[in-house]
């Protein structure tokens, strides 16, 4: 094993150890377990955005739509269909992913600013649907009246509703599944074609890669991950909010990804952690917390253009 590989393995082990022990070190440091859960969920969303932005090189500014769809998918399932947490997660993921797959066909021919604009436009369509369709979605008040359900393993019931630590570990398990799938895809031949498209679209085309089709697949996959993250978010809050679909939420996800380092796999998780923890801390002091987060963002972009983690090392293909 090369020194490079050893170093990577150690970093990976450290990341998972920090995440596994989060409930035990966050509380003494003045945090609380639910905050760690939020970091995981929003981190997963930022990593999903970055799956597209950092590894395919296309910027979606409307990814909150698929996040929000995941949240409503999970919430509506729990409220109207069946009181099952796993079913809610699958439903949310499918709703986000399938809508992404359909709209993706209309988006993938655009590039750069036009791609970003079209993704915003479609995202806002979903926002207004959630906002207006009060009878189903609760409109501006959001979707209430559901809660995450204990998970029945036959021999025992895992209470994830009232026990914050149990819920954290449940979310960590879901996060690990999604992140493992992401890492697996990025290390595959298909994942390498994504990186090829990011690096040089013309060269990719002239290697025989149908670029639009590959971007569509990457977009769709990213929307499935986004829907999954959104479904988890609905479970975190026992609530789904139309503002979760709004383009300003998309902007937050992009900000987390860029701040953490969009060329590194774990960067967006760090970005989300900084964002969420700062938000939590600052919003108890001032309503203008976003000015401070914005200032930090500007500083990171100016002084660490590759993001907080980008400083440490170059991402490998």
């Amino acid at each position: 094993m090369s020194a490079e590989q050893t170093r990577k393995l150690i970093v990976l082990a450290a990341i998972w150890l920090i995440l596994l022990l989060a409930p035990y070190w966050m509380v003494p440091l003045g945090g609380y377990t639910a905050l760690a859960t939020r970091v995981l969920v929003l981190g997963l969303a930022a990593m999903s955005v970055n799956f597209l932005l950092g590894f395919t090189g296309v910027l979606s500014f409307g990814h909150a739509a698929y996040f929000g769809l995941g949240a409503y998918g999970a919430g509506l399932t729990l409220k109207f269909l069946a009181p099952s947490t796993p079913l809610a997660l699958v439903a949310g993921m499918l709703l986000g992913g399938i809508c992404g797959a359909i709209l993706g066909t209309l988006i993938v021919r655009r590039r750069g600013v036009y791609f970003a604009m079209v993704t915003i436009a479609f995202g806002q369509v979903f926002y207004y649907i959630a906002f207006q369709w009060s009878s189903l979605t609760g409109g501006d008040d959001g979707l209430r009246g559901f809660s995450r359900q204990p998970i029945d393993f036959g021999v025992f019931n895992l209470d994830i509703l009232s026990n914050a630590n149990n819920f954290y570990f449940f979310v960590l398990f879901c996060f690990a599944l999604a992140v493992a799938a992401m890492g697996f895809i990025l290390r595959s031949p298909f994942g390498r074609t994504m990186i090829a498209i990011r690096e040089n679209e013309r060269r990719s085309r002239f290697l025989g890669i149908p670029v639009e089709r590959h971007i569509w697949i990457a977009f769709t996959l990213s929307c499935f991950f986004m829907g999954f993250a959104g479904a988890l978010y609905a479970l975190v809050n026992n609530f789904a909010d139309p503002r979760g679909l709004h383009y300003s939420q998309s902007g937050d996800f992009v900000m987390m990804a860029v701040m953490g380092g969009m060329r590194s796999f774990w960067g967006p998780l760090l970005g989300a952690a900084v964002f969420v923890i700062l938000q939590d801390y600052l919003s108890s002091i001032t309503v203008n917390w976003m000015s401070f987060v914005g200032l930090l963002f500007v500083m990171v972009v100016l002084f660490f253009p590759r993001g907080l983690l980008g400083v440490i090392g170059r991402s490998k293909a």
Partner: protein, 249 residues
């Protein structure tokens, strides 16, 4: 047998006729050079062959198959590879990764979520072979973006070769190179042609390179095919001298 048959191809951009009624056949194993003054339509002609855009009229046949309306990636899948006047590579990946992507796509693995050990070995062999062919095997772990210009060119050619093409299109392979680098790339192209029997069409400005390499030369001027023949025939052709060589000398 002809690898490439181009019949009466015309390309208009609005009022400008960039390529006007050009016909050309390239035989298997041939090295064809396309020359002509700036603005003669050489790169447009290349773009028509490789499928950047379709011709306004005319037909293009590749390995006996009509490809006039096929997309670029479909032509590549049929066995056509090209390099560009301005090198098109994956600058932030290393040499091996650049060529590996080409080899994986050529192996038909581009949509695969995983490849097994024997497929991986197959890809690896092809990458090694190709790197050896262009003499980049000692620089496999260097970032392509950090290589010297000549090596970047060689890396781009390696990516094209990893596709195992039946036809290699090289757009000004020695553009922007010093004498030493020009010599090395010329030797490489010569080896590919003489030893590995690649069919090659290249655009080139450097007449030494053209006369050294080409079996046949086609001269384009103002979008038309002015002349076609061996190096001696082209050098002796008075129309060509007037239109091109005369100006250049």
């Amino acid at each position: 047998m002809n690898v490439l048959e181009i019949s009466n191809v015309t390309k208009r951009f609005g009022n400008l006729v960039a390529v006007r009624d050009v016909s050309m056949n390239v035989a298997k194993g041939e090295l064809r050079a396309i020359i002509g003054p700036n603005g003669a339509g050489k790169t447009t002609f290349f773009n028509l062959i490789s499928g950047f855009f379709p011709p306004t009229s005319g037909a293009i046949t590749f390995d006996g198959r009509d490809i006039t309306r096929l997309a670029t990636h479909q032509r590549v899948t049929l066995g056509m590879a090209r390099t560009f006047q301005i090198t098109e590579i994956f600058p932030e990946l290393n040499v091996l990764e650049n060529v590996r992507i080409a080899a994986e796509v050529a192996g038909g693995y581009r949509l695969r979520p995983w490849i097994n050990a024997s497929e991986k070995a197959h890809v690896h062999r092809r990458v090694e072979e190709t790197l050896k062919l262009v003499s980049l095997e000692t620089k496999a772990d260097r970032l392509v973006g950090e290589l010297a210009h000549g090596d970047q060119r060689a890396a781009e050619i390696a990516m094209a070769l990893a596709l195992k093409p039946h036809l290699l299109l090289l757009d000004e392979p020695t553009a922007g190179m010093g004498d030493q680098e020009t010599y090395q790339i010329t030797q490489l192209i010569r080896r590919l042609h003489r030893e590995s029997n690649y069919t090659i069409v290249l655009i080139e400005h450097d007449m030494r390179v053209v006369f050294h390499l080409a079996d046949r030369i086609s001269v384009l001027d103002q979008g038309r095919l002015l002349a076609e023949g061996t190096a001696q025939e082209i050098a002796a052709n008075e129309t060509v001298q007037a239109a091109y060589l005369g100006n250049a000398a």
